[in-house]
């Protein structure tokens, strides 16, 4: 019971307030309560808003696909090809990054990806580059991976480890080759963990501003950067609220669609 109250007060209420806020005006750097749709109209008419929207959507989409694909062989190997002892240690070490600062890890990557950074120095040794690894989407993607990869591996691993091995044997027994079994049998059985990992990645990357800001050059901006910029300069909180609401609606839609797809009974 207590949680309902707490959540209502401190979670639902602020979000509702955000909606209310989006209809207010800003005069002389102060907010004036009222009801005016001007913020919505202004935002939706701005080119840069829609640019940022589709860009953020695209970034999150790419991040989701890349992370899920990169995580899978790792999770698969840990579920099927190593001893339970190794698996437990691996799980422990995958949870470790969770206790480090995401910010600090991002900062560390700058050292590597810089124009004079470690990677480019190494490339120079073999006569390659220098490559632009920072302040573009590649940098952002590295940041996203740092944020999400351990989590996705863990989620996929849990599902994969719970796959009933006799079903895999049955597939082999019926003539299904090893690789084919992975796609025809193992992945459908581990569907939940895979989809959960993808959903979390999408949500985290859609709303993240650290990676695009510190590793991606912050321009052109993602929606999250847009919110920060809008509030920092000019105190345009209502406008920021509009962006925030659009983000929430998008995320909720995608989340419910994915969960529905995950639990849909196949005929």
């Amino acid at each position: 019971m207590p949680i309902v109250i707490w959540q209502l007060i401190f979670f639902v209420f602020p979000l509702i307030f955000l909606v209310v806020l989006s209809f207010w005006l800003v005069k002389n750097y102060r907010m004036v309560p009222g009801f005016d749709t001007i913020n919505w109209v202004k935002m939706f008419s701005k080119g840069y808003f829609w640019d940022a929207y589709w860009r953020t959507l695209g970034y999150a989409g790419v991040a989701t696909i890349v992370t899920s694909i990169l995580a899978f062989p790792c999770a698969f190997a840990l579920a099927f090809k190593v001893s339970p002892k190794v698996r437990r240690w691996a799980l422990f070490f995958l949870i470790v990054p969770f206790f480090t600062s995401y910010l600090v890890r991002t900062y560390s990557w700058q050292i590597f990806l810089n124009d004079n950074g470690i990677f480019n120095t190494l490339f120079a040794l073999v006569g390659l580059g220098p490559f632009q690894l920072l302040n573009n989407f590649f940098g952002t993607l590295v940041g996203y991976l740092t944020l999400c990869l351990p989590l996705v591996v863990v989620l996929q691993l849990i599902s994969l480890a719970n796959v009933d091995r006799t079903l895999v044997e049955a597939a082999h027994n019926l003539g299904c080759g090893r690789l084919r079994t992975v796609f025809q049998v193992i992945i459908p059985l581990a569907k939940i963990g895979i989809i959960l990992g993808a959903v979390f990645t999408f949500i985290l990357t859609f709303g993240d501003f650290v990676s695009p800001y510190y590793l991606g050059g912050s321009k052109p901006p993602t929606l999250s950067i847009l919110i920060i910029d809008t509030t920092k300069s000019g105190q345009q909180w209502p406008r920021a609220a509009v962006v925030a609401i659009v983000m929430i609606v998008t995320l909720l839609t995608i989340m419910f669609a994915s969960i529905a797809a995950a639990y849909r009974k196949r005929t």
Partner: protein, 367 residues
Amino acid sequence: MSDPSPSRPLVTFDGVCKRYGNITAVHAMNLEIYEGEFLAIMGPSGCGKTTSLRMLAGLEEPSEGEIRLDGKRINEISSVERDTPMVWQSLALFPFLNVQKNVEFGLKMRQVPTEERQQRARKWLERMEILDLAERDISQLSGGQKQRVALARSLVTEPRILLLDEPLSALDANLVVRMQGVLSRLQKELGITFVYVTHSQSEAFAMSDRVVIMSQGRIEQLGSPKEIYRSPASRFVADFVGANNILSGTVSQAGEDLEIKTTLGAFRCHAGTSDPFAVGDALDMVISADLVQISLEDPNTQNSLRCRFISEEFVGSIVTLFAELEDGSDFKVQTRQRDLANLSLGEESSFFVSWNATDAHLIGAKE
């Protein structure tokens, strides 16, 4: 149950061993399985029966020896390439496919075109009388229905051999009887080889042409159910199969009519065509519980014993009586309920058991 065709064997186990580290699950196994026969492999847990089946399916690799299918060595052929479909104890139906797609699976793996495989799958569903369940989800099926799906799935590819690993162990008792009938009929209609692993004597005996009894990784006896029931080859088999009473003793008079001396007295036994025994040989005398007559008065024959009634087990038309002999050992009698009704036996009452000299079976006792 027909006699198996003793032509060329379909499957041969030649000196097959399986070791896991220090533990030997199967010792040098030699077995021939014939085309078209229903073979049951029976034994207590850990006897190696499932391991042997899995080696045949290619799910385990023999540590030694050769397995041949149709005369060709298959040790190196992976389970994916062998055509040895198996029905699992847990049935192993794919939860993410409906009934029809489950059955189609094997055909899909063999690149059978969609039209054809749908047709063949549906034909099999019809044969197993579950066509109306084709679109259903696996989780919505009852135990018996799942059984039929598992069978259809394995047989749709028309293999020459079907392996079954205790498939009926999870079913209710009355369903088991029905499924036994289904399996029996199916095997006879199809004429393919069934290799059936079980720990249940009733299942093995009810359906099979031949039975292999295994214990601790070795074959104890191989023969028809009747042979094994009436002529157990070792003490283990005598204990494991049927309800047998075993009296140990030594031969005091040799010949066609032996006399065997035991701690409870001397008994006559007709040796028949089994190994000739000499005076002084140690052996076990096996008296099947259903070949024993009971009476309240002393029947005055040499082959009789006095015993004390302990309890009875009533399983329908057959009653098993548990009694104690004068030396404290157990004795079992199986008789029909209505025959027993004529005698009134109470707790601790004493009665006599007797049997014919020709009804006892002899096993040479191993040291």
